[in-house]
């Protein structure tokens, strides 16, 4: 915003709505877990909303993303509907995957979402293959591969990043660096510097404050333009933080990260507060923001009710979709 362009508050309200939707979705997910209404676990995205929304707002609907076990934010940011998301989390037939995938495997080809992946770093190949497909079909799309800093320990990323650089593929590797791989601080697991790893492959790499959605979106827009021009792959390193534990059941976590650290991120670095503050500073009335939040909260509650009341798939479905 160096040149003070006119502020498009409508656009940023939409961005705020997307981010707030993710926060409300994750809060409701946590409630479902705590109320024993959700089978299994979920890995909440709260705190990282500016990354998914900032990246996806710079993409077209037919651009591809691959997601992770902490993937609800990516799916929603790319355009998924909250009711079918909750239905999937509860294993219902109305879910995006007819209840067969669950929280860690939501895929929606209509919004270009090639699926969340429960193997850490497991989707790097899929995203890069999608980029090769884009180049071969000359479709002009871009593929984005979201993964956390924990995935930097996986070899697959380095194999496909090498090929992406060699073949100038239109893929953007978005590193959501939230400081922790599961229950371990990154300084115990990652040597050296992330950007120099990218530089080793000759990958264009950019570092950004992952709590600042405007910065994420601006950086992504440049990388997307680069990829569409045929200038090849890039790495977007986003510094961010997960507000909850590794998953909803990770409650007592002082042994690996301090309550003070968590409190500080939530108070000072909440991506929603940062954007809301900016909006009010740019003459958006608080009442408008409150109204937006109330509407989204209502939508999320209605979606939860829909999912809770939706039927399970027929038991006969267990054998369908093994083969296409």
């Amino acid at each position: 915003m160096a040149e003070n362009p006119p502020v498009d508050t409508e656009q940023w309200l939409h961005v705020y709505e997307q981010m707030y939707k993710i926060r409300a979705f994750e809060n409701a997910t946590n409630e479902l877990y705590l109320g024993a209404k959700m089978p299994g676990l979920a890995h909440l995205y709260s705190g990282e909303e500016a990354v998914a929304v900032g990246v996806c707002e710079a993409l077209n609907r037919d651009d591809y993303i691959t997601s992770t076990h902490r993937g609800h934010g990516h799916c929603l940011a790319k355009g998924a509907a909250v009711d079918r998301m909750f239905a999937e989390l509860l294993g219902k037939e109305a879910g995006y995957c007819r209840g067969k995938g669950g929280s860690m495997h939501i895929a929606d080809q209509e919004t270009g979402n090639l699926g969340a992946n429960a193997i850490v770093g497991g989707s790097a190949g899929i995203a890069t293959g999608a980029a090769l497909s884009i180049k071969m079909r000359k479709s002009g799309q871009v593929a984005v591969c979201f993964f956390g800093d924990g995935a930097l320990g996986q070899g697959l990323f380095y194999e496909v990043a090498n090929m992406a650089a060699l073949w100038k593929l239109p893929v953007i590797y978005v590193v959501e660096h939230n400081l922790y791989g599961e229950y371990t601080h990154h300084t115990e697991t990652a040597a050296g510097d992330v950007l120099t790893r990218a530089a080793g492959f000759g990958l264009h790499a950019v570092e950004v404050d992952g709590q600042d959605v405007k910065a994420v979106m601006a950086a992504t827009a440049e990388l997307v333009a680069r990829a569409r021009r045929g200038d090849g792959p890039s790495v977007l390193l986003c510094h961010t933080y997960r507000f909850h534990g590794h998953h909803v059941g990770d409650i007592n976590r002082a042994y690996y990260r301090s309550p003070e650290e968590e409190a500080e991120w939530k108070a000072e670095r909440d991506p929603l507060s940062l954007l809301a503050d900016w909006l009010t500073e740019n003459n958006v009335e608080q009442q408008v923001i409150d109204q937006l939040e109330a509407t989204v909260t209502g939508d999320v509650q209605a979606a939860v009710d829909f999912a809770l009341n939706a039927p399970y798939p027929s038991p006969d479905e267990v054998t369908s979709h093994v083969f296409a």
Binding site: Y64, T66, G95, Y96, C97, R98, G99, K100, G101, H105, A107, D108, Q109, L114, G115, N117, I119, G122, S123, A124, G125, I126, A127, T128, G129, A130, A131, L132, S133, I134, M136, R137, A143, G155, L156, E159, V160, N162, M163, L166, S320, H321, V322, F323, A324
Partner: protein, 342 residues
């Protein structure tokens, strides 16, 4: 290759039927499919100008160019993953993994990704890719270039696995694999590449999951896969000389498995040996023997016997390696024992 010329039931001297090697049949299948469908491409190590170390893909890059016959780095997991992603987004990749031993490096991409994506997505996404690789010992290549690991991927729901024995089957199964909407793995026996057999000029496919009776017989069934089909046919010739009529059944695919044809042959002959070049323990012979024992129990006059690779890493020395894989002589001895002839 010292294997005898096989007797194969589709050996017809019709016009348009050429004698092609197994390797030529694979090459022709891929070339014909690539002419038909511009979405098909090949990616792998040394697949372009080198045409693979076995020269099976020689010439394809001249016709289709380096954009569709893509030389990759030595990154098996990476190219398998790229194949999965390309297949999910409209292409039809053929991923070349030089040695079957290297499929250990692609396990996450095949087992956790390719095999499960259609199911996990509730049927929305699909992965129409082919992973072709090799199998087979007896080339003095030692423990990391000699294994037959097709049991591993046959174990996983969502994958299809073909193990052709003849040039005719190789071409028909490769075409079926390329046209399939699912991930299909093809294991090609390295020693079978120079074997010649009849291959018609016209387009044909062999459906995945259909066994073939390679030789008819009355007294004993030899269920044999890939290279072991030749071992079984050779054993059947020797058994015929002593009055034992052996039927040779080639499943052609381990997944799906044509249980019906195997069980029907077992019911007819009442004795069965299952022969496969993979490790015998926890291998495909165990699965097939179980299927046959279950389906033909009341018709059997003897336990279903299994013959596979010895449970040792494949050794280098010829004096040792040749002990590890079933031979026609061993099959004859086993058959005589089951028929009460020794």
């Amino acid at each position: 290759m010292s294997s005898p010329n096989p007797t194969i039931s589709h050996s017809v001297a019709a016009p348009g039927v050429r004698q092609l090697t197994f390797g030529q049949a694979i090459n022709e299948a891929i070339a014909e499919e690539m002419r038909r469908d511009p979405l098909i491409f090949v990616v792998g190590e040394d697949v372009a100008e080198a045409g693979t170390p076995f020269k099976v893909l020689l010439g394809l890059v001249d016709e289709f160019g380096p954009e569709r016959i893509i030389d990759s780095p030595i990154s098996e997991a990476g190219i398998a993953g790229i194949g999965v992603g390309a297949a999910m987004t409209g292409m039809r990749p053929i991923v070349d993994i030089m040695f079957g031993d290297f499929t250990t490096l692609v396990m996450d991409q095949m087992v956790n990704q390719a095999a499960k994506i259609h199911y996990m997505s509730g049927g929305k996404l699909k992965v129409p890719m082919v992973l072709r690789t090799t199998m087979g010992a007896s080339r003095r290549s030692a423990a990391q270039h000699s294994q037959s690991l097709h049991a591993w991927l046959s174990h996983v729901p969502g994958l299809k696995v073909a193990i052709p024995a003849t040039p005719y089957d190789a071409k028909g199964l490769m075409k079926a694999a390329i046209r399939d909407e699912n991930p299909v793995v093809i294991y090609e026996d390295k020693l079978s590449y120079p074997i010649k057999g009849p291959v018609p000029e016209e387009d044909y496919i062999i459906p995945l999951g259909v066994a073939e009776v390679k030789r008819t017989g009355e007294d004993i069934t030899l269920v044999a896969t890939s290279s072991m089909v030749y071992v079984a046919l050779s054993a059947a010739e020797k058994l015929a000389e002593i009055g034992i009529s052996a039927e040779v059944v080639d499943p052609r695919t381990t997944a799906p498995l044509d249980a019906e044809t195997l069980i029907a042959s077992a019911k007819k002959t009442s004795r069965v040996i299952v022969i496969d070049e993979g490790y015998q323990e926890y291998g495909v012979t165990g699965e097939m023997a179980s299927v046959i024992a279950d389906g033909a129990f009341y018709w059997l006059d003897a336990p279903v016997k299994r013959m596979g690779a010895m449970h040792v890493p494949i050794p280098f020395s010829p004096a040792l390696e040749d002990r590890t894989i079933p031979t026609a002589e061993q099959v004859v001895e086993m058959a005589k024992m089951l028929c009460g002839r020794n």
